[in-house]
């Protein structure tokens, strides 16, 4: 994976030079260890600012819409699925994009690493399989990448982009995992335990909406939480309002979420709100055989009706 960047730069320079695209959306080196910053490149001579490593977890699909230019985008497996969803939902046209697909080996979870070291991390390096961090105490610690991936990446079953114009490397092998052990654990709780679980889960939420805004699916011109006429939900820190926001945000992602993990990654207080979207995903898979973002040619579960759709609820 460490060699991906050479091909990313070369392809980006080529596309810009040939005038095939007007801009490239990718990542540049962040100012923080384990952070890269989404960026836009317009000139071939600037492609050297692009980087690629295990800290490119942000979903770049967010940066493609409402533009006129022809755009090349560097897309991991999950980004590509969100692009597909955008195409299905008419947020963007396939022709406007040149997708540089990146076969992905997972992005690391910087908070997990920070929790596991004493002191502050000042520098980070990586090999194909390991992450090496240096701390303010001068210690160097290494972690196997596989052990410090974002949880959604450990469960990812579509690491290879499903839609692309060029792949920048050979496809990686896909994982076979049970994606829903955490959902099943919550389902197994009693009603009272579940109520407590969700109250505790959302107690630290400050309603900064980073989870909503980091998500490519959330593009409504006015989100229901911001609507004032009518006002659907209170805007303060009342626990019921906070939970209403989370419940409805998740529901709006039903059948659309790709579990790219952008929401959880963005949250400044480390809330795993993915347990809601994953529940919806699980039900979509089990009831409609639907996984979001796999093909632009198939209509999503929530906008089709089949005679054999389960209908136990409606009496």
């Amino acid at each position: 994976m460490l060699t991906y960047i050479d091909e990313i730069r070369a392809a980006s320079a080529r596309l810009l030079q040939e005038g095939a695209v007007e801009m490239v959306v990718g990542f540049r080196q962040g100012s923080q260890p384990m952070m890269n910053e989404p960026c836009l490149i317009r000139r071939p001579e600037d492609v050297d600012t692009l980087v690629w490593d295990s800290h490119c977890g942000i979903n770049l699909t967010n940066y493609l819409t409402n533009r006129k230019e022809k755009i090349a985008v560097i897309a991991k497996g999950c980004d590509a699925r969100n692009i597909v969803t955008h195409i299905i939902e008419n947020k963007i046209e396939r022709e406007q994009l040149y997708i540089l697909g990146v076969p992905c080996q997972g992005m690391v979870d910087k908070r997990q690493i920070a929790m596991r070291v004493a002191g502050e991390i000042t520098e980070v390096g990586e090999s194909d399989t390991e992450i090496r961090v240096q701390t303010t105490r001068g210690e160097i610690q290494t972690f196997a990448k596989a052990e410090v991936l974002q949880q959604n990446c450990t469960l990812c079953t579509h690491r290879n982009p499903v839609l692309y114009d060029a792949l920048i490397a050979e496809a990686v092998s896909e994982q076979t995992v049970d994606r829903y052990t955490d959902v099943a654990a919550i389902e197994a709780m009693t009603i009272g335990e579940r109520q407590q679980y969700f109250q505790d889960l959302f107690a630290p939420c400050i309603r900064c909406y980073a989870c909503r805004n980091a998500c490519p699916l959330c593009y409504c011109p006015t989100c229901f939480v911001d609507e004032a006429q009518p006002q659907w939900v209170g805007k303060g820190q009342d626990a019921v309002d906070v939970m209403t926001f989370h419940f409805l945000r998740a529901y709006h992602c039903a059948g659309r979420c790709t579990d790219c993990g952008a929401c959880e990654r963005a949250c400044p207080v480390g809330i795993n709100m993915r347990v809601l979207t994953k529940k919806l995903e699980k039900d979509c898979v089990n009831n409609f055989g639907w996984e979001a973002g796999l093909s632009p040619d198939v209509r999503p579960a929530l906008d089709t009706f089949n005679l054999d759709d389960p209908d136990k609820l409606i009496k």
Partner: protein, 58 residues
């Protein structure tokens, strides 16, 4: 169905949400549905969870 599953998952009892199609010609079905809903909800008792009266803030 996704909605009721999610509500139940978050701790709202399944029997608090009912959905039904009743045509204006189906008077008896309407009565049956209303009876069923009220009985199911009465059996659960008043809901205290996920209910806001006055905002509780600092």
């Amino acid at each position: 169905m996704l909605l009721s599953n999610l509500l139940e998952y978050m701790g709202i009892e399944r029997n608090r949400l009912h959905m039904s199609w009743v045509s204006s010609a189906e008077a008896t079905k309407f009565i049956d549905v209303v009876t069923e809903v009220t009985e199911a909800v009465r059996a659960l008792g008043p809901n205290k969870y996920f209910i806001k009266d006055q905002a509780k803030v600092a």
